[in-house]
Symmetry: C2
Subunit: 155 residues, 2 copies
DNA sequence: GTACTTGCAAATAATTTGCAAATAT
DNA sequence: ATATTTGCAAATTATTTGCAAGTAC
């Protein structure tokens, strides 16, 4: 959907819009969650079967440098995620299924000031990411709870 | 200094306090900044020369699981950092020298609520990291600025 | 003494790079 | 037409694992 914008975004910076890059972008946007490079490959190949892993790496690097893709940090693993590109944004990652959502509320000034006072650093940027449980997984979980009443011993 | 506490912390959980683990912990704490596993090795070897890289990985994993070490994210690379261990804390990373400081102010309830409303996730945890310039680098930078008045062309 | 740890080397996994062929503009 | 981009395979680099020997308790 916003893939149209992608065309412009790339060309504006003098890069070419290739089937591979489009496939990577589409894969990420359709996944709606953080994907590791290998997973991006798998999905993007549905649309562009001859795609290679090295190209995925190269595309991710480029797209990230243009701000069209962001990293999300799931504890240690760093997976890529498609961001709609609109400037500064933050992510909530579902700890169960890995789904990613964006939110724009981002009012950290007071906190940054306090941290600056506390540490002597001059704060220039923040990296904030929330973790939680997405709507779907909340539903599933409450179903499991009903199951528990009926049968299982937990182990 | 808080390495004494480390002794207890490990034993309490049934792990042994080895020279290697101590060296890793000390290296991180003395570095005062995020270190990659290989850098941890280099520093820790000063204190424990026979230390191997595999052991560093194992130690970091263990220490992290006990909350004695945390990950900091420098753009894509995830380096380990020593955290004083006291529960929940956040880091400011200096974008110039990599130095890391902790701060404890962490008032995100309002923000978490807003994000929950916006995304439908139930928020369980947050990961917040600030980036900025530490006191030392601020000083250096202002010195360079005076230099500029005197001579350089910038390139 | 014994169970946990380590060191090393070998196995895997992850990422990058070189270069001829393909292709977007 | 042609400069960029790709695919593949090979090269690096990062991380994990197996196991005999070492060591904290």
């Amino acid at each position: 959907v916003y893939v149209k914008q992608a065309t412009e975004e790339l060309r504006e910076h003098g890069f070419r819009l290739t089937r591979q890059r489009l496939a990577v972008l589409t894969a990420l946007s359709e996944a709606g969650r953080g994907l590791e490079p290998a997973q991006v490959l798998e999905r993007a190949r549905l649309e562009c079967p001859e795609l290679g892993l090295a190209t995925v790496y190269r595309a991710l690097e480029l797209l990230e440098s243009l701000g069209m893709v962001r990293h999300v940090h799931t504890s240690k693993s760093s997976a890529a995620v498609a961001g709609a590109g609109a400037g500064h944004a933050h992510h909530v990652v579902c700890t169960i299924c890995g789904r990613v959502a964006e939110f724009s509320t981002c009012d950290l000034e007071a906190l940054e000031e306090a941290a600056a006072r506390e540490t002597g650093f001059s704060i220039g940027a923040h990296f904030l990411e929330l973790a939680g449980i997405c709507r779907e997984c909340q539903k599933k979980r409450s179903q499991e709870h009903s199951d528990r009443k009926t049968g299982g011993t937990g182990k």
